[in-house]
Amino acid sequence: GTMLKGVTRLVSRVHKLDPGHVLRLGTQASQSLAAHLDNQVSFESPRAISCTSENDPAKHEEKHEGQHYNLPLQDMKTIFPHGLPPRYAMQMKTFNEACLMVRKPALELLHYLKNTNFAHPAVRYVLYGEKGTGKTLSLCHIIHFCAKQDWLILHIPDAHLWVKDCRDLLQSSYNKQRFDQPLEASVWLKNFKTTNERFLSQIKIQEKYVWNKRESIEKGSSLGEVVEQGITRVRNATDAVGIVLKELKRQSSLGIFRLLVAVDGVNALWGRTTLKREDKSPIASEELALIHNLRKMVKNDWNGGAIVMTLSQTGSLFKPRKAYLPQELLGKEGFDALDPFIPILVGNYNPKEFESCIQYYLENSWLQHEKAHTEEGKKELLFLSNGNPGQLERLCAYL
């Protein structure tokens, strides 16, 4: 309820925050108006603490730590057609801008990525941490960086979506043992197309693939056609995905482009599924074609790119709530498959980041409570959320 009210209230308010505009007296109480005036007057200083003008992730450094940077909305639509966590997407819509906080784990990863040697096999990075600490958004930060650097982005927003609640499981035409998921595959292909439009015409496949008796794809046709075929012929979508993954893997080693494989919720690949066959017997995850291909993708037997993954307990199946370590969430099988990898812990906010987050909310007039900007109020918020970004965001939604 508060969020919806907030949307209508704050969308109008955000317009008013633009400097130089005459304040229009709407249906606001005089108290918030006074707060507005304060914000207007000291417009520059809070922004200086919480936001930075450096909008290119490539140039983010330690000194930007704790500050939000603005992502242009147009970019958001191309790069993240499907990748953002839902609460963040709501916040983006409310504030009418997309701001991400620059944090240490992301900076660390950026540093590694900038110094990757593309001749070596792809390095695997795993972002792990407790629930709500910001793993997915850190991943988005990385993806933005890579997009700006003109990498090809293979982003699976949430692998858990592929192992639960799927309808229309078809038996795979390629391999009788496996199952296809036409809906998920086609959706993903659409998003993939949006993200990587410009690469699709450049990359040519190097093998002939036969869809069925009448249709086939010749060697040398562009990847775009494969994707088109997958989108239009939903039955073949899963196979199209498989082809895309295989080709990309093969060709990234050639050095034409750099490939970033970003998987969110990678522990889904080795966990259990909730899908069942018609005779109600459960399906193991390797019997799903999408999962099988994805597993091949995250193996480090190719070079010319990097693999960044996050573990997620939130969507995971059959895992205890407090599990967040790679060992617990991946299980033995997954851990062995992913080994060796570089683990990166994403933790709660440190005091500086917390302060910055509160400032950001205050600027956008998201916190309306009188005590929100006092010291005691901030201490209360800190205690109640313990610096956890997710909890803090949920808390502030009520204020």
Binding site: E376, K379, E380, L382, L384
Partner: protein, 418 residues
């Protein structure tokens, strides 16, 4: 009712004054009284098994049943004899058998699961059981003994009269002293702190007559005036005051301990419902809290529980200043949060000034009851569950259904209510 004392059923129906509808003719009463008095030793004990709960209401209903002075004396003798028998039964010394021993013995011999404490078997001195009644106020010739009898409230008016007399005496004394020049200004005023005036019910009990509110107010005014005059009649005044226990003195403050690294900390425990918690609060820290080794954000994902934890620190304005490690077991989510909160508040007492301890007590933070004494409300007043309406009181059922259900509820009542 019938099930408990079958043998003295008739006696029970007389003694148990719970059904005022049962009005007995005075002759019958006297006969019963005579019967009682003529009965020898063993049966006397049986009488004592019966609980006599006489409230003011019942006294009104059975106005005809006045207890004569002889009757009360007889009861007291019987009570003493019964006390000695009971002491013999329990194997204790009859000479030093106090009322608490009696209570314990009765609770042991007649265990009762009734929730209403007043309904359980008791054996007390007849003074406490039989309401105080006035002896007959007039003599053989019909002439009343007390000079204020015809006012209707003779004890009250005589008390007021005496008090006023005392005030006049004090003033006369003061005037005499002033005339002689020996009057000293310093008066030791009576210490009124820690005591309160009698409430109206207590005064009524003392005087054994009904008072009105105006009478009571008048009485208080007179008492205040007496106090103002001087500290002469201290015992007289104090006989009308009751002490108010100061509760905060009961709470022991835990000492501050020091562990190996020299960090100051203090431990205490708290309980709520069936959850037990023990908290170790360190004096200097960051505001981290660990419960059973798990961070409090993960242990209490619900905001409400974390707010409970926040309250002691927030109240004392020490939000980020202490580190806490605690262990908790039992109860549910809310109960554990409440128990930890209590334990933390108590532990914080040792780092905090006396004043703040008093504030905390008033804010019911470090509440003194050892555990939260809210119990599950079982059936009461003839209902089959705590909140369920009795059958037939809500509309929407057919008549036969009502009758049936009422019948079954009736049985239930007979079993539990007694």
């Amino acid at each position: 009712m019938a099930a408990s004392c079958v043998s003295c059923g008739a006696v029970v129906s007389q003694r148990l004054l719970l059904r005022p509808r049962v009005s007995l003719a005075p002759r019958q009463v006297l006969w019963k009284a005579a019967e009682l008095q003529s009965v020898p030793g063993p049966q006397i004990l049986r009488l004592k098994h019966v609980t006599v709960v006489t409230t003011k209401k019942n006294v009104k209903a059975l106005r005809r049943e006045t207890y004569t002075v002889d009757f009360i004396k007889k009861q007291i003798e019987e009570f003493n004899i019964g006390k000695r028998h009971l002491a013999n039964m329990m194997g204790e010394d009859p000479e030093t058998f106090t009322q608490e021993d009696i209570d314990r013995a009765i609770a042991y011999l007649f265990p009762s699961g009734l929730f209403e404490k007043r309904a359980r078997p008791i054996m007390k001195h007849p003074e406490q059981i039989f309401p105080k009644q006035k002896a007959t106020q007039w003599g053989e010739d019909g002439r009343p003994f007390h000079y204020l009898f015809y006012t209707g409230k003779q004890s009250y008016y005589s008390l007021m009269h005496d008090t006023y007399g005392k005030i006049l005496d004090i003033e006369k004394h003061k005037n005499q002293l002033q005339a002689k020049g020996l009057f000293s200004e310093k008066d030791k005023t009576t210490d009124l702190i820690g005591s309160r005036w009698l409430i109206k019910e207590e005064l009524e009990e003392m005087l054994v007559e009904k008072l009105s509110d105006q009478d009571y107010a008048q009485f208080l005014r007179l008492m205040e005036r007496l106090l103002q005059c001087g500290a002469a009649e201290e015992e007289f005044v104090q006989s009308f005051r009751r002490s108010v226990t100061v509760q905060s003195k009961k709470q022991p403050i835990e000492p501050v301990q020091h562990d190996a690294q020299g960090m100051a900390f203090s431990t205490s425990e708290g309980r709520r419902k069936s959850a037990k918690a023990e908290a170790v609060v360190y004096e200097h820290g960051n505001g981290r809290i660990k419960i059973n080794g798990i961070d409090y954000l993960l242990y209490f994902p619900v905001l409400q529980d974390r707010e409970q934890l926040m309250f002691p620190f927030h109240f004392l304005d020490r939000l980020g200043k202490h580190d806490v490690t605690c262990t908790v077991s039992g109860g549910g989510r809310s109960a554990q949060a409440g128990a930890i909160r209590l334990a933390m508040a108590r532990a914080l007492c040792s780092f905090v000034t006396e004043e703040e301890v008093e504030w905390m007590r008033q804010a019911s933070l470090s509440v003194l009851q050892l555990d939260c004494s809210r119990l599950i409300r079982a059936s009461e007043n003839g209902r089959s569950r705590a909140r369920r309406e009795p059958a037939g009181s809500l509309p929407g059922r057919s008549a036969e259904c009502c009758r049936e259900r009422r019948g079954s509820v009736h049985l239930h009542v007979a079993n539990t209510h007694q």
